[in-house]
């Protein structure tokens, strides 16, 4: 090894407790990463410091930023991007792709059933309470048939690789999951910074996502419409994912609108344009259910469109994703996913579920309270990593406090064993070298009428703080370009 090689990987610590994506047990570089490792080793740490600055500037100039809530002041931040891509070989990817598609389809069947006959409850497979006490279950959706029979057009499934080397699903996100624009921007940024590495690898493109999303939207057009008019509705520039909303609208070639740009008349939705009203048929909405329609849901919503829900109910407009999908990506429903897949598809689940303890069940609650230091406690209806406590990181007082919160409302919490997220070489600014950091993977799956698509790639999120297990961007995570290799 030359001296330069030692300098950029010298501070890389291998911890046998975690699965390493790049190095095998013996400490050798895995075959898929070998070429990349050799190429990177040829650069000095100064080179990477420069490249890192370039990549950051590229993100800043493109305006790819996000906002963090709960901060004292709302700040625009650059989503930290890492120069070392994650590589997934074709065989491994095949399992992931089949697995996430299976979950999305099962969830779609499940949502349909719950808003129609509730057969799965009548059969005693899941309890009625699970649905009726869920804050995200919308009884307004009962009996409504969404165009094409699709509820979760867009699903984002979060996967991790445990120390046993197997993928586990952490959660399914079917309430307008975000992050896909970062997947595409990460690719662009890496191409700008290190174009040469792409000559050595044959990775699937990720830029076809927008085209596929548009086709999915068009496939669920309302009845009687030939050429549907599609739009993206955003809560506005202050939303943390505004960049993504504008990116997707631009990439699909459709209008980006806010609530006040639309109005409803005789149960049809129109967009105000300088040429007069224009009918809208399919809306990719990045507004939460509660804010969609102030006449039907939260009356104080200034983001929604008055009357939108009755237009939807009449079948005159399609909302992507459908309202009321939130109960199904609830962390308590997650634990029933293996049963849900078996019930609706008659198949064994392809991807593993993490074992989950329900605090609503007395015996499991007892286990959780006694073993809190070995568990991760999650609220069932919060997204974005808020409200999560990791047992072995808590002080005695904090443990007591968590116990009290759980006891006060057990239905609101689940617990899972602390999963060992795999680690991946990640460029760290402070040490100007590559160190190992925990990663997960968010995949994106689209369902339409007779059409389905899984983005070949995904968002590999990195917990940039050493030893940290929470990778959400709102908790200070970064991301990596993710390559799915062609066969």
């Amino acid at each position: 090894m030359s001296t330069t090689q030692q300098s950029i990987f010298s501070s890389y610590e291998k911890d046998p407790k975690f699965y390493d994506e790049i190095f095998d047990e013996k400490g050798n570089v895995k075959q898929v990463y070998q070429t990349l490792f050799d190429l990177y080793s040829g650069h000095s740490s100064q080179d990477f410091a420069k490249l890192n600055e370039k990549a950051k500037a590229s993100f800043f100039n493109q305006g790819i930023t996000f906002q963090v809530y709960n901060d004292q002041e709302a700040k625009e931040k650059i989503f930290p991007f890492d120069l070392f891509p994650r590589i997934i070989d074709p065989e491994e990817w095949e399992t992931i792709e089949k697995g996430v598609l299976q979950r999305s389809k099962a969830l779609n069947h499940f949502i349909w059933d719950i808003y129609h006959d509730k057969k799965i409850i009548k059969q005693g497979i899941i309890p009625l309470d699970l649905i009726s006490t869920s804050a995200n279950y919308l009884d307004q959706m009962i009996g409504i048939d969404p165009p094409g029979g699709i509820y979760n057009h867009i699903s984002g499934t979060d996967l991790i690789k445990h120390s046993d080397g197997k993928y586990y699903v952490l959660e399914d996100n079917i309430r307008c999951p975000s992050g896909v624009s970062y997947v595409i921007c990460n690719r662009t940024a890496l191409k700008r910074a290190l174009f040469g590495v792409f000559n050595h690898y044959n990775a699937h493109t990720v830029t076809d996502y927008a085209q596929n999303l548009l086709e999915i939207m068009e496939s669920v057009k309302p009845r009687g419409v030939d050429e549907p008019n599609c739009v993206v509705i955003t809560p506005g520039v202050y939303n943390s994912a505004y960049y993504e909303h504008s990116y997707l609208a631009k990439a699909m070639g459709v209008e980006l609108v806010e609530g006040r740009d639309l109005f409803v008349e005789n149960d049809f939705v129109y967009m105000q344009t300088i040429k007069g009203p224009e009918k809208v048929d399919v809306i990719y909405r990045r507004i939460d259910d509660a804010f969609l329609d102030p006449l039907e849901f939260r009356p104080d919503s200034a983001l929604g469109v008055p009357g939108l829900f009755s237009a939807y109910k009449k079948g005159n407009v399609c909302l992507v994703n459908a309202p009321g999908t939130g109960f199904a990506d609830d962390k308590a429903v997650y634990t029933y996913m293996p049963e849900i897949i078996k019930y609706y598809l008659g198949e064994e689940p392809i991807l593993n579920n993490v074992h989950t303890y329900h605090c609503s069940r007395p015996d499991e609650l007892k286990y959780v309270l006694e073993n809190i230091d070995k568990l991760v406690i999650k609220p069932v209806d919060e997204a974005g990593g808020y409200g999560i406590s990791i047992g072995n990181r808590l002080t005695k007082e904090e443990i007591e406090k968590v116990k009290q919160t759980i006891k006060a409302s057990p239905r609101k919490y689940i617990a899972q064993p602390i999963m060992s997220l795999s680690v991946h070489a990640t460029y760290i600014e402070d040490s100007e070298s590559f160190e190992s950091r925990h990663v997960d993977l968010r995949t994106f799956c689209l369902l339409g009428a007779d059409k389905e698509f899984v983005l070949k790639g995904g968002l590999t999120r990195v917990a940039l703080k050493k030893g940290n297990l929470i990778v959400n961007s709102s908790q200070g995570g970064g991301s990596k370009d993710t390559w799915v290799l062609k066969k």
């Binding site: 009625l128 006490t133 009884d139 006449l295």
Partner: protein, 332 residues
């Protein structure tokens, strides 16, 4: 029995509003005991009026205002006919225990899940419930007891509660309006596994009571084999011919007679309502028929109404002719 119902709302704003949407849920329901003979809805700004249906299938009127103003009024009027149904007819024959088994079956719970789950406005924990059911008595008797218990233990008082008052707060205050009585009734019925829904409507308090009165609310409960029965805890009554139903839902939010979304600089607004319900004779002339706008009526109903109206006209003409005849004869 026939009624004339007049609803008027006047909204005033402290500054001009540029654009607004309102939604009204005022039209009496068409059901086995109610028939809407005439319906009319107008607004002072002559803004566009749409019709649609809400989540529970009840017809609503929507007003979309596109010009600036600081005051607007809305008027609805209806003529309805109402039949009386005897709620006691099928009750005695059914044994209580059968009901208890039935309402605890999973199929029953799923079918009525909507009206069994607590909402924010009907939230009440079992140990907070101030009234418990006597399991040896029938569901109907228990509900009837609950009705009079509420009537005797709470007083009707305006301005002590608002639209967000919960059953727990109502219990503390011991006083409130029909909404609060109904929400507590629903909460207790649901805790006892009886499907219960919020019902909005008009109450006929006897002719001569004009103005000042608001829309009324009561509870409807589902009793197996009998169906939905209305309980009015404010008046300790079973909803009969004086209760003209408009809509039902999980709680007040689903039945709010007026909902609005206002864009503009106005920070404060004031709304005044008046509701008048008057009994009328079937032969009284349909004075409000002369209005300019009608809410659309189902075609079949329109035909039936037309036929009825023609018949009425014919009868009146006959009467007139007879009178003329009699006068003629007297002259002779």
């Amino acid at each position: 029995m026939e009624y004339t119902i007049k609803y008027k709302a006047v909204n005033t704003y402290d500054a001009l509003i540029d654009e607004a949407f309102w939604q009204f849920l005022l039209r009496p329901e068409e059901n086995t005991t109610q028939n809407v003979r005439m319906a009319r809805f107008t607004n002072s700004a002559n803004a566009i009026v749409d019709t649609s249906t809400n989540t529970f299938g009840f017809p609503i009127c929507r007003v979309h205002l596109k010009k600036p103003l600081d005051k607007i009024s809305f008027e609805a009027s209806y003529i309805i006919s109402k039949q009386i149904e005897n709620p006691f007819s099928a009750l005695d024959s059914v044994v209580n225990s059968v009901h208890q088994d039935q309402i605890r079956s999973i199929d029953f719970k799923i079918e009525h899940e909507r009206f069994l789950s607590a909402t924010q406005l009907t939230q009440l924990l079992a140990d907070q419930a101030p009234f418990s059911f006597d399991q040896s008595r029938s569901l109907f008797d228990n509900l009837n007891d609950l009705n009079s218990w509420l009537y005797h233990n709470f007083s009707f008082k305006t301005k002590v509660t608002d639209v967000n008052t919960t059953p727990v707060e109502f219990i503390e205050k011991g006083a409130g309006v029909c909404q609060d009585f109904t929400h507590l009734f629903l909460a207790i019925a649901r805790l006892n596994h009886i499907p219960a829904r919020y019902t909005s409507g008009y109450l006929h308090q006897g002719n001569g009571y004009q103005g000042d009165s608001q829309m009324h609310a009561w509870a409807e409960c589902y009793i197996p084999e009998k169906g939905w029965i209305g309980f009015d805890p404010v008046n300790n009554l079973i909803a009969l011919e004086n209760h003209i139903k408009v809509a039902h839902g999980k709680d007040y939010t689903d039945c709010a007679p007026i909902k609005g979304v206002i864009y503009g600089n106005s920070k404060k607004n004031e709304t005044t309502y008046t509701v008048e319900v008057e009994a009328r004779e079937a032969s009284d002339p349909d004075v409000i028929l002369t209005s300019e706008t009608y809410a659309p009526m189902p075609f079949k109903q329109q035909l039936a109404f037309q036929a009825q109206w023609q018949q009425q006209q014919y009868q009146q003409q006959q009467q007139l002719r007879q009178q003329q005849n009699t006068t003629d004869t007297s002259q002779n």
